[in-house]
């Protein structure tokens, strides 16, 4: 199926901005938000792998049903997964087409890659992970008061 692919921020992706070396960041940037009817057409359900293909490349995402997304469009969180299928043309403005990528989608069995794996394919060599102190983010000792949106 052909789709208009658009990308943008999500709060879950934003919360992981300073944890890009961690698994959760890749989980959030590896999602694709699809209208439930389109997901039905793709013969997929929540959590299935969806391969998005564009003229630039292809990448596997995790299907996330979302009624807010209009049929015929797919929404991606900002990040390495979305950028892996984004071309670099800026039409003389400096800004790529983050909101306007034409591509196709189909269900596959392959699991999404991590951000680090994508960057390794692009030529990167991930840094060794900093040692995480016990009780840090998400641990018992952490209390984020007034952190609601």
């Amino acid at each position: 199926m052909n789709f208009l692919i658009t990308s943008g921020r999500t709060i879950a992706q934003g919360n992981e901005l300073y944890y890009k070396d961690r698994e959760n960041y890749s989980v959030e940037t590896g999602r694709c938000f699809v209208n439930p009817f389109d997901l039905l057409e793709l013969d997929a359900v929540a959590g299935d792998s969806i391969l998005l293909s564009t003229g630039t490349g292809e990448e596997v995402f995790t299907a996330t049903p979302c009624e807010d997304v209009a049929s015929g469009t797919i929404f991606l969180p900002c990040g390495p997964h979305a950028n892996a299928i984004l071309h670099a043309a800026t039409h003389g403005t400096g800004a790529p087409d983050y909101k306007w990528i034409e591509g196709s989608a189909r269900r596959v069995e392959t699991l999404p890659r991590s951000g680090r794996e994508i960057l390794a394919e692009e030529g990167g060599a991930p840094l060794p992970l900093p040692e995480v102190q016990s009780g840090e983010r998400g641990g018992e000792a952490v209390a984020i008061h007034g952190a609601g949106v």
């Binding site: 208009l4 658009t6 943008g8 921020r9 999500t10 709060i11 919360n15 901005l17 300073y18 944890y19 890009k20 070396d21 961690r22 940037t29 630039t56 490349g57 807010d68 997304v69 209009a70 469009t73 900002c78 390495p80 950028n83 892996a84 984004l86 071309h87 670099a88 800026t90 039409h91 003389g92 403005t93 400096g94 800004a95 790529p96 087409d97 983050y98 909101k99 306007w100 951000g115 680090r116 960057l119 390794a120 692009e122 030529g123 990167g124 060599a125 991930p126 840094l127 900093p130 009780g135 840090e136 983010r137 000792a141 952490v142 984020i144 008061h145 007034g146 952190a147 609601g148 949106v149």
Partner: protein, 423 residues
């Protein structure tokens, strides 16, 4: 640090991050090893000074003071310096250069606005405190009942979380922004009858209703997101929005504010404009600042493969630039100056960790309404600041340049805009 009070979820996550490095790392092939700051800065200076077409990219996540030093480095090495606005609200700036900026401070919005419109922006997720501090849910001097005194309208291609709490949501077809603003202007100018039944998927009656709502507002504020700047039309969308606001200002008060992203991306436009005359994408290779978006902007110089060395600071192109740019970054010497491990670290030849502005060092940032804010230091991790690292880098580069000039003078060679490298 175990807890954070009074921050939004994005801010709390930044304070609590454990993805901080404490010592510079240098890459040798596929392995990394620690090095000293002195050695890292010397190496970074050598890489940048020896490059033919260096790019200095990012700057939105660091202080205005550091940005100014960065511009001096770019001038000293004849490089291209660009900031994150080139990939987000750069087109907004192009629109503003064409049509002007009918802006105001967020305090004015808080105190006066009875109509708030978010167009192509989803602040609930991107700017979590925007509505509660400045626009919708806050009580103002002339809006004492807060959101009861205001109308919130969202225009977007999808029903975002912000759209769900809006008084009115208008769903627009992707890429239809220019046409919608043009139609709204037509309504204001008395030409509603010529509109087709729908424009960009919006029924004509809905557009007439929105135009009337804006015209009848006492003080309206339009906030434009990257939904306008990264879709077809780009800066023309923003120009059309400004022209709509200009028309409204013939009969009421109305303002437009781009929803800037990084905490100091607006600061980059302030400092770049002040020191070079241009807000982003500045090329010093000819000895004078040149600006041509699409040519001198980061995505373009990287995707064309022009750049032979890159300094990344206060941004993460590894996470936010198209793959073709990242593939080029992986091929060239890339220096990352960042408090956190970023995806760009994967492409780095050198990663120099620094203090984080607003956490472990001070600095000035510009809010999206261009009000400068002084950020305070709340703890000390003993790391050097961006300013200190960049100052040392500039000093080293200038020393090399002076040494190079002396050699030229002795030999009586022709002058050059680029200082030769003395090993």
């Amino acid at each position: 640090m175990t807890s954070v009070d009074n921050a939004c979820s994005l801010g709390a996550a930044k304070f609590l991050s454990q993805s901080r490095l404490r010592k510079p790392l240098v890459r040798d092939g596929g392995s990394w090893s620690e090095t000293s700051y002195e050695e890292a800065i010397r190496s970074a200076a050598d890489i940048l000074a020896e490059a033919e077409r260096p790019l200095l990219f990012g700057w939105s996540g660091t202080s205005a003071e550091a940005q100014c030093i960065g511009i001096h480095i770019a001038e000293a090495i004849g490089g291209v310096i660009d900031n994150c606005s080139s990939i987000c609200h750069g087109p907004s700036l192009l629109g503003i250069q064409e049509a002007g900026h009918p802006g105001c401070t967020l305090g004015t919005v808080k105190n006066r606005a009875d109509l708030v419109i978010y167009w192509g922006s989803n602040p609930i997720e991107s700017h979590p405190r925007h509505l509660s501090r400045y626009t919708t849910f806050v009580n103002g001097r002339y809006r004492e009942e807060g959101h009861h005194d205001r109308t919130l309208v969202v225009v977007d291609i999808r029903k975002t979380d912000t759209a769900k709490i809006a008084d009115e949501f208008i769903q627009i077809r992707p890429g239809g922004d220019y046409a919608a603003f043009a139609a709204l202007r037509a309504v204001l100018l008395g030409h509603a009858a010529i509109l087709p039944a729908t424009v960009a998927g919006i029924p004509r009656e809905r557009l007439i209703w929105l135009a009337d709502l804006c015209r009848n507002a006492q003080f309206g504020s339009l906030f434009t997101g990257i939904g306008l700047t990264q879709s077809p039309g780009r800066y023309k969308n923003v120009r059309s929005a400004i022209q709509f606001v200009d028309e409204l200002n013939r009969c009421t008060k109305f303002t437009l504010t781009p929803m800037r992203g990084h905490w100091n991306v607006n600061g980059t436009n302030q400092t770049f404009s002040y020191l070079t005359g241009y807000p982003y994408g500045v090329d010093f290779s000819r000895g004078i600042p040149c600006y041509n978006p699409g040519e001198t902007t980061a995505v373009d110089v990287l995707s064309r493969g022009e750049v032979d060395a890159c300094l990344v600071i206060g941004a993460d192109p590894g996470a936010h630039l198209p793959r073709r740019c990242n593939e080029h970054l992986a091929k060239i010497p890339t220096i990352v100056i960042d408090p956190f491990v970023s995806l760009t670290s994967s492409f780095a030849t050198l990663h120099i960790p620094v203090a984080c502005v607003g956490i472990d060092c001070e600095g000035t940032g510009y809010r999206m309404d261009s009000v400068p804010i002084r950020l305070r230091k709340v703890l000390d991790l003993g790391l050097p600041t961006d300013e200190e690292v960049l100052s040392a880098l500039l000093e080293r580069i200038l020393e090399r340049g002076q040494a190079g000039s002396a050699v030229i003078d002795e030999r009586g060679a022709a002058t050059t805009t680029r200082a030769p490298v003395i090993m």
